[in-house]
Subunit: 433 residues, 2 copies
């Protein structure tokens, strides 16, 4: 592996990134910053052209960062034959679930189908997409072997899970430690070599399957802890207690407790999805992942809980939800992002509509309700004024963006449903949901 | 409340501590250190006499600390009529579960029965025992009202959960922030006043029920997180992965993940018990606490998992567990303590015996197997030598005390079953359990 190693050391290696989205683009920036020429691959021509023009498709990444990368030699292309120019190939494509909540590796296998004809000696192939333990060995390895390459001798195969946290200003791709597992020791060494050039701390583990499991455990941990506080919210509420007050007080314990907060459900591309990759694989071993299933069930039921709370609040003033005007505040899946993937706000909006409510929304980050595969709302974000707020029968706070004028909302909303504990110290009546 | 407040300020208040165990004794030391005269109450004469002689009944508390407290005026007594001398009464008695896993408040009510005749004006009563939300109001308050006292006017009632962590050298009673909830605002103020004299940070919450829920949430959080990694251990093991390696790598993520480690079950007086206090109370509201029940089930099944692993390992060398000599290493419930309460090691030993094994144990902190209500072993801790270790068919590491000679054990054990990941990097064959 001296040839690849030398090219990494002197930055003459060309790094290919496959999948130019929330993971691939920040990764490309980091690699480019480390002094490498980067080739970006995607199947969507609009995306590659946008990047080549120096424009960012992601809210929290600046155009100037993209154009600086282009100036340093970055090219985006849909032509996968150019992967043969690359010394390292890093796959960052989505790994969603299908309608039966089973792993959908079609983006990974489509990528492998596209690049397989061009694989060559002295290349490093790294998968970053979250997936079940064994994917690299059982899905990627056969492609490489079929190409006649000898993994660990003249080709290097690793798995290194992405740990992007969009909107987290405390950490960047470079400062978040990165886990790497290799198919062989030589593979691991090559992976450590490459990632070591642009990541401060690279953490080796003993196999690709171990590193696949690391990423799943991280997101399973979050899913279960959010599920737990969502269940505790329901119990606390029945007992007349404010779960946010309880959590904040518990968080003063300096060991043995980490605060997680409840909400209207869970969203984003990771937490609602990744855990089920393990559930699916575990079945092969005759095992059930009962915590994952319970958390999935409870988290998925939270939009319904929010709507029930809204129905009850309207009922108290003699109104039905049918025919009521309801304003949803915040439709991105978390604070201060524009990402709508798996957003629980949208599930709440759908339930409200199903009950017969007239639904409007306000989200400073999402001016127009986007086209989504599973959801259809022909809406634009409304402008918040004392008058517009007062015109709704109920206002439901779903995503607590920093930009909202919380005082104005508190003052003018008729019924105010709070799923984020934002109004935990309010003196007016608040519906905790 | 100026009279009580003044007495607290000038340290002329006498503080009564009811229940002289793992919580009451360290609390007494802190209160005494703050300059108060402390009266300790317990129903066990041996315990009060031992303390009055200046002897510590707890391994991690030194005799010299007890005798210093005695020199400062501390007295222990079984005479509850002396509670009337006290300006503050702090209850630290156990709150176990009965055989049906329902809350057993008999120690609390027995204490209240004993002190009720002596309650008087200008006293503060604080409950520290872990319990279901509503206990202070529904169980303690009626005693006080029956005594003709006016809570919030001439008597002060608070709940402030203990947060002791025996064996934790990083924190003391004084440096662990303490949550306090009062029955009224004046009660809360009195509680803040008292605790503020010997605790660095006192955290007020809005009610006694909220502070009761805080303590439960802390321990529920631990129970669920340990349950999760225990389930993940079983899945990882089936996939040929070492869960300890996976957890350590996940723990390199600088946000969103906290490491919890699996083991042979959960023990101690808190984590296996406290969560079910909420389960019981939630049923009153028609609610199930499904995470708590799942964690309880999985954690309680771990001793069986450990024994199954041992059976399989012996089976591999053509031996049955029946008739095998098995050595249990570590029988206290956690590292470097002598506390046997709810220790999963004992459940493992019982299962081994049930299968027909000859069971021995070694625990440097527990030289003789103590009398326990539910368990009966007529055993003394054996001495570990290369010869004794080699004489057992299987050695099962259950509690990873610092004092064990791990290298010697590794070298001489025939079959070595590791429930603590202590041998995760060993080059010899280890049975992960």
């Amino acid at each position: 592996m001296s040839q690849l190693s030398d090219k990494i050391a002197d930055r003459s290696a060309i790094i290919g990134i496959l999948g130019l989205g929330y993971v691939g683009i920040p990764l490309g920036l980091s690699v480019s910053n480390a002094g490498f020429k980067v080739l970006g691959f995607d199947v969507i021509t609009e995306r590659t052209e946008q990047l080549n023009r120096g424009e960012s498709p992601i809210k929290h990444i600046k155009d100037s960062d993209i154009s600086a990368m282009v100036a340093s030699g970055f090219e985006a292309t849909t032509d996968f034959s150019r992967t043969t120019e690359c010394d390292a190939l890093i796959i960052c494509v989505p790994t969603p679930l299908n309608k039966s909540r089973e792993p959908d590796l079609s983006f990974v296998t489509a990528t492998m189908d596209s690049l397989a004809p061009y694989l060559r000696e002295e290349q490093l192939l790294s998968l970053e997409s979250t997936t079940w333990p064994g994917t690299t060995e059982q899905v990627l390895l056969p492609y490489v072997e079929k190409a006649g390459l000898k993994v660990g001798e003249n080709f290097y195969l690793v798995y290194s899970p992405e740990r992007e946290d969009p909107g987290n200003l405390n950490f960047s791709t470079q400062t978040i430690p990165k886990v790497v597992g290799g198919h062989t020791k030589a593979c691991l060494a090559a992976g450590m070599d490459l990632y070591g050039t642009f990541i401060d701390t690279v953490v080796p583990v003993s196999s690709t399957a171990a590193s696949e499991m690391v990423k799943l455990l991280e997101n399973i941990h979050r899913s279960i802890n959010i599920g737990l506080v969502n269940e505790m919210k329901i119990v606390a509420d029945a007992m007349g207690l404010d779960i946010f007050e309880v959590i904040d007080a518990a968080a003063t314990k300096p060991f043995g407790f980490t605060a997680y907060y409840p909400g209207p459900g869970i969203g984003g591309h990771c937490i609602p999805i990744d855990p089920f990759y393990l559930t699916w694989k575990a079945r092969e071993y005759g095992l059930h992942t009962r915590f994952i299933e319970l958390a999935g069930e409870i988290n998925a039921s939270m939009p319904q809980y929010v709507v029930e709370k809204t129905v009850r609040a309207l009922n108290e003033v003699g109104k039905s939800l049918k025919g009521a005007n309801v304003l949803a505040l915040g439709i991105a899946y978390k604070r201060d992002v524009d990402d709508m993937r798996e957003s629980p706000s949208v599930f709440v909006m759908e339930l409200l509509r199903e009950w017969g409510a007239e639904v409007a929304y306000c989200d400073p980050n999402v001016p127009v309700f986007p086209k989504m595969r599973e959801h259809n709302f022909d809406l634009k974000s409304i402008v918040l004024t004392p008058e517009t707020i007062a015109s709704y029968d109920a206002v439901v706070l779903l995503t607590d963006h920093s930009d909202f004028d919380y005082e104005m909302i508190e003052k003018h909303a008729s019924i105010l449903v709070d799923t984020r504990g934002k109004y935990r110290n309010s003196s007016r009546q608040i519906i905790r949901a």
